[in-house]
């Protein structure tokens, strides 16, 4: 028995590490500067394990596990980078790019996009899967913001921030699988949503150019997702 019942010792990439029992592999790894790529994860929001980019190998597990929703366990042996994992992650990214219409060169988020950065850091040079080219709408009915479903990766950060931080619950998801869409209220045009407070948090946390502020130009958009942890701390301090 460990002297500290809430402490778990485990091994990530050959390094012995101790962590609190309520921590995830992702949290623990990042605390120790071990890089694991993520997309749907955002500090300050709950975890959904949707994007599958943080898949890691856990000894004894029959499949790869998402690091963001897998809690640490005593004696766990985790590997964050193997050729197999890298291949899976690149494939996941390729699926994202093939699923909708991500055209970086004319996107508002070009140069500041998390999906684009991941492609660069993970070395995704080509998309070998056939592009789906779905015909998806753009909703520009809100006076300040626009949602372009062509660039949405369904990470649901907008849904979570709207519910967990703003408490408005304007955003939701409709449909299934690749046909899913993030929607405002019961798929009302965003500009007609009665619950939206126009706080803009969804826009700030969106990792791509799916949600953006109307600046009247494509090159002026800059997002600030880093505000979330502070907001959370301040709320909890109340």
């Amino acid at each position: 028995m460990s002297a500290e019942p809430n402490i778990r010792t485990l091994n990530i990439d050959g390094v012995g590490i101790s962590a609190r029992a309520d921590q995830t592999i992702l949290e623990t790894a990042r605390e120790h500067n071990i890089a694991i790529p993520t997309l749907c994860h955002l500090e300050g929001l709950s975890e959904v394990g949707a994007c599958r980019l943080c898949l890691v190998e856990v000894k004894g597990a029959r499949r790869l596990l998402p690091a963001c929703v897998t809690r640490v366990e005593e004696g766990m042996e985790v590997t964050t980078h193997t050729p197999k994992i890298d291949r899976y992650r690149t494939l996941v990214l390729e699926l994202f790019f093939a699923e909708r219409n991500h055209v970086c060169s004319v996107c508002v988020a070009n140069g500041r996009c998390e999906l684009q950065s991941l492609a660069l850091t993970l070395g995704m040079t080509h998309v070998e899967l056939p592009y789906q080219y779905p015909q998806l709408p753009v909703d520009a009915s809100h006076p300040r913001f626009t949602v372009d479903h062509n660039r949405c990766v369904l990470c649901t950060r907008c849904v979570r921030v709207c519910s967990e931080i703003e408490g408005a619950n304007t955003w939701g998801v409709m449909g299934r699988g690749a046909q899913s869409l993030v929607i405002t209220d019961l798929k009302e045009p965003w500009g007609q949503s009665e619950t939206c407070t126009s706080c803009g948090k969804c826009v700030q946390v969106c990792p791509t150019g799916a949600l953006f502020e109307k600046t009247g130009a494509t090159s002026k958009v800059r997002k600030h997702p880093e505000f979330l942890p502070y907001l959370r701390i301040m709320r909890e301090g109340e």
């Binding site: 060169s105 753009v138 520009a140 372009d148 009247g216 130009a217 090159s219």
Partner: protein, 474 residues
Amino acid sequence: MPRTIIIDPVTRLEGHGKITLQLDDAGIVQDATFHVTQLRGFEKFCEGRPFYEMPNITARVCGICPVSHLVASSKACDAILAVQIPPVAADLRRILNLAQLVQSHALSFFYLSSPDLLLGMDASPEERSILHVAQTHPEIGKDGVALRQFGQRIIELLAGKRIHPGWTVPGGVNEPLSEEKRDQILGMIPAALAAIQRTITWFRGSVERFTAEIEVFANFPTLFMGLIDDRGLAEYYDGALRVIDSEGNIIAGELEPVHYREFIGEAVEPFTYMKFPYYKPLGYPGGTYRVGPLARLNLAGRCDTPLADVEWRRFRAMSPRPLLSSFHYHHARLIEMLHATEKIAALLADREILSRHVRATASVNNLEGVGVAEAPRGTLIHHYKVDENGLIRWANLVIATGHNNAAMNRGILQTARHYVQGEQVAEGMLNRVEAVVRTFDPCLSCSTHAMGRMPLVVELRARDGSLVRELRRD
């Protein structure tokens, strides 16, 4: 026996095209057609996009003249915002557009056409390239590279990057010009002016060698169209459209570009994806007109900068009427480069150009906007319709190269009839057929932006060439 000569691809052009020459039994050219064989689809896939993405999207029509599309598109978006953009922003866009003119003209003249002009139309194909020019005529080769760089560098200094910059936005431009960058641009002007003047002097001296080509390189009467300012002088960013006839009579003095559809029609032919715009009051093909450097210098009162005006007078003194041979496009291009460089310096000399107020903001106030500017190859028109949220419902782009389409086809026929005859057709003869197209400096990737119903004709011909049956889908 009748035969067909196909030149595919036509080299040293921007984009992909091919030429078909139909010869009869005696080996005489009966018909000639210029096919642009690619389809781009911009007008269609822009539908549904927010209007302010249009400058960036349509810039991708072309890697040579993205700035022209940026400018015309931004102007169309200004019209949707219904704002008067800050005068400095207009001047900054002007400078960008002129820098684009210089670099594109340098590309056309030096990279694409100078091998024909320096080494002769009959030089072997391996030799007809800018690399060979750099070996045989290093001074001219260097000037060509330097002038292209000069234009591209100004674009980079102003807009952040050379190709597809995002600086021009609805309502103005993104960033004001810094004093340091202005001084850098001004520092490059003297060398550029000297290089252009050297080139003009050389070109003027060598024109005599091409008397035969001048005679048959699209040398026929057409109308000419281009922008002029309120004094009737050459204008590239704003102003009204003027149309003159081949005698130099102004048949339409100040057409409002916004109403272009009232006076420009677009015909289609089954053999190409490029449309055939024409001046509506005279119908098709009677209303065939030319745009671009030759048209602009034919129809403007003068250029409005001292060195260019001297050259313009010499140029126009070659004929009491407008110059009709498209061979003169080359000469006109050089004069325009001189004018553009002088004009850039003049605009930068104004202290106000450093003003920080370079953008007007507004939301959608008009559901329709037209933007017109002079691209290197001629008048460029962007026309958008949006919904109340600013999403594009409909887009129409009338591209400079398209305006010249009818004249290019006729020019090919004229040149081919003169040079291509009999059983043995020398390579240099076919090169002249390509060279007449090069005088127009067509940008084929730009010209086939359209999408929609394209006429398709299937011809079934007997062995003797007679038409048995024709299937047509209009």
